[in-house]
């Protein structure tokens, strides 16, 4: 059955690719139906097991950090970087890599799964380690309410066989129970800069949690981050951009330490300096001699942290808000973001450009121009005066803008 599934899955993949499809989900869908235990069979072969990374914000970047840190220690890492983080997406990714004789030549799987799909995954496949980042308001029209999302994360933790790594500063994640837990956290100084979902609403100062943490993110100056491990400070120069990515590093390091406890922490700290941001998470482009950074904003906490990290006064900004299904139909979350520290908003764009302009107006922030069409907006923004530009965009707006910029249609 295993060999047959592999052969069949690979054939479907080939056919869908030949017919011009991406070859991504269909083979997984079919194998999921005809051989539901396939995924369990294959992933159980991995000597270091399966890591699942979940939470509202930071999954993609954190998965990238963990995969690369483990690779640098010589592990062969299987990851679902096709962006299809459904169970069937994982199956499709396995089918792509597995040999016809059933040889699946990896040491460990590091998988990014959103909360609901991670729970489904845990029902059909083993989870050895999980890293749970945060619970924040995301696309509430998809999941209902955030306490429900926290329940999903608890289920992932319950299904985790070895260690569950938790963000102790998130009021919902910090409470999660598991067989074995390890925490990562923030210093008292930084916690004020990381509003939890509750803090976004009513600004209340919090102190960092008193749970013992493996890694504490202590401080950040420009891109120089300091972490505490075993009471000692470690300072590193990050290529990853932004405060929230520097915090994700703390989670990634805690996870890597759990997977490879015999590797000296200093080695992970050395390697972290080489790691770059993931697609759409602080990617940079050159347009007309100016550096343009594209930043994904998909919910209030991510947007707030992006503003806190990137609101330099010499920078020009564009904001693009779409409300397609992948962005979330509901745009009310914009009202849970405080924009009052932003200046130089040159262009506001996207399907819901006027909602964004309206939001800014009620924070008494001026928008120079509203252009709903993304291509026209990017062209206008390319001609703004500053050599340093940043674009905040929701998911589908980010994809379109990336295509516009990389297609060079504006140059």
């Amino acid at each position: 059955m295993e060999k047959l599934s592999i052969l069949l899955g690979k054939s479907i993949r080939k056919v869908t690719k030949l017919r011009g499809g991406s070859g991504s989900a269909l083979p997984g869908l079919i194998i999921e139906r005809i051989n539901p235990s396939f995924i369990n069979q294959e992933l159980s072969k991995l000597p270091h097991g399966v890591v699942v990374i979940s939470g509202t914000n930071g999954k993609t970047t954190t998965t990238k950090i963990v995969s690369e840190l483990l690779q640098k220690q010589g592990l062969k890492v299987f990851t679902n970087n096709t962006g299809s983080n459904f169970v069937r997406g994982v199956i499709s990714a396995i089918l792509e890599d597995i040999k016809l004789n059933g040889e699946f030549d990896y040491d460990i799987a590091v998988l990014e799964l959103d909360e609901a799909h991670a729970v489904k995954f845990s029902e059909v496949a083993p989870i050895d380690y999980s890293l749970l980042l945060n619970v924040q308001r995301d696309q509430l029209d998809r999941f209902g309410e955030i306490d429900h999302t926290a329940d999903l994360l608890q289920k992932i933790a319950t299904a985790t066989k070895k260690t569950t790594i938790l963000n102790r500063e998130d009021p919902r994640v910090g409470k999660i129970k598991a067989t074995k837990t390890e925490y990562f956290g923030l210093s008292d100084k930084l916690i004020k800069k990381f509003p939890s979902d509750d803090d976004l609403i009513s600004k209340q100062q919090t102190k960092s949690s008193n749970k013992p943490a493996c890694i504490v993110f202590k401080d950040l100056h420009n891109n120089q981050a300091t972490y505490i491990y075993d009471k000692k400070d470690y300072t590193v120069d990050l290529q990853l951009k932004g405060m929230y990515n520097a915090f994700n590093v703390a989670g990634a390091l805690t996870l890597c330490h759990s997977v490879l406890p015999n590797v000296k922490m200093q080695r992970f700290f050395d390697d972290i300096e080489d790691i770059k941001s993931a697609f759409g998470r602080g990617e940079s482009f050159q347009i007309n001699g100016a550096e343009v950074e594209l930043l994904l904003v998909k919910n209030p906490s991510a947007f707030q942290l992006s503003i806190a990290s990137f609101a330099d006064s010499d920078c020009d900004f564009m904001i693009a808000i779409n409300d397609k299904i992948a962005d979330g139909r509901d745009v009310s979350w914009l009202w849970n973001v405080d924009f009052s520290s932003l200046k130089n908003i040159k262009v506001v764009s996207g399907i819901r450009a006027y909602d964004m302009a309206l939001r800014l107006k009620y924070d008494n922030i001026k928008t120079e121009v509203v252009i709903e069409d993304l291509e026209a907006a990017v062209r206008k923004f390319a001609n703004s005066s500053s050599k340093h530009k940043r674009i905040f965009a929701t998911y589908t707006a980010m994809l379109e803008i990336r295509k516009i910029i990389s297609g060079k249609s504006i140059l």
């Binding site: 009513s202 139909r329 509901d330 745009v331 009310s332 009202w335 849970n336 939001r359 008494n364």
Partner: protein
């Protein structure tokens, strides 16, 4: 001139940017040189005597649990304000709790404070999506709804609007929300006020007229962005 706004449970009851409603009232006052003071009411604190507008948003179940007892404690004061024509806006969760009761899926009855003659029963699916309603006084209003509770209006109760797109109170009778005197209860998040400036100005004008005991006519503002955002939202699919 000055207005005092009572914001009920800003911490526990704020899903879907509902506090944007308070911000909308505040800015539209400030832009007309009307001073605004916002009193954030948390459980366990008293209600001042000189409130001009009352606002409360929606919350998730855990938030509603935390405020239930306090809401019953302050209910007599809220009733007094609303009987005296104080403008009041309550959304979703607090709309339901301003009614007679909310019956949960497992049959538990949560008593409301009986200011609005409505009852709500848990439904078996969530009504989620863009919603457009029509109101004789304010025209077309646009928002976003997300609720599983099904609300029925009591006898002789005026709905807030008629549903054009979406579910509204119960997905059946085309009614949305409820109005009693100057108290409006509704399922419209969005938040409702920024994109429906006529409604925002109604609260401000009514509050000023009542406070200063003379008919106040508000200065006109440039609402170009508000109206464009309104037009975009109305044209979006559910």
């Amino acid at each position: 001139m000055k207005l005092k706004i009572l914001h009920l449970y800003p911490r526990e009851m704020n899903l879907y940017g509902d506090h944007g409603n308070v911000l909308a009232i505040k800015r539209r006052c400030e832009w007309r040189d009307i001073k605004v003071e916002i009193i954030e009411h948390e459980p366990g604190t008293g209600i001042p005597d000189d409130i001009d507008i009352i606002f409360g948003g929606g919350g998730q179940d855990s938030g509603q649990g935390k405020i239930e007892q306090d809401l019953h404690e302050i209910a007599p004061r809220l009733k007094e304000y609303i009987e005296n024509d104080t403008p009041c806006l309550v959304i979703c969760g607090l709309y339901q709790l301003f009614g007679k009761y909310y019956q949960t899926a497992d049959g538990k009855k949560i008593n409301g404070i009986d200011i609005l003659n409505i009852t709500t029963d848990a439904g078996d699916k969530r009504h989620i999506g863009n919603i457009v309603i029509k109101n004789g006084q304010f025209g077309e209003l646009v928002g976003y709804e997300n609720h599983s509770g099904l609300t029925s209006l009591g006898d002789n109760v005026e709905p807030f609007g008629e549903v054009i797109l979406g579910a509204g109170n119960n997905g059946k009778d085309k009614t949305e929300g409820c109005r009693y005197k100057n108290c409006i209860g509704t399922y419209l998040h969005g938040p409702i006020l920024p994109k429906n400036p006529k409604l925002t100005d109604f609260f401000i004008e009514t509050a000023l007229t009542r406070k200063y005991n003379t008919k106040i006519n508000l200065k006109k503002l440039n609402d170009e962005i508000e109206l464009k955002a309104h037009a975009t939202a109305i044209a979006r699919p559910r």
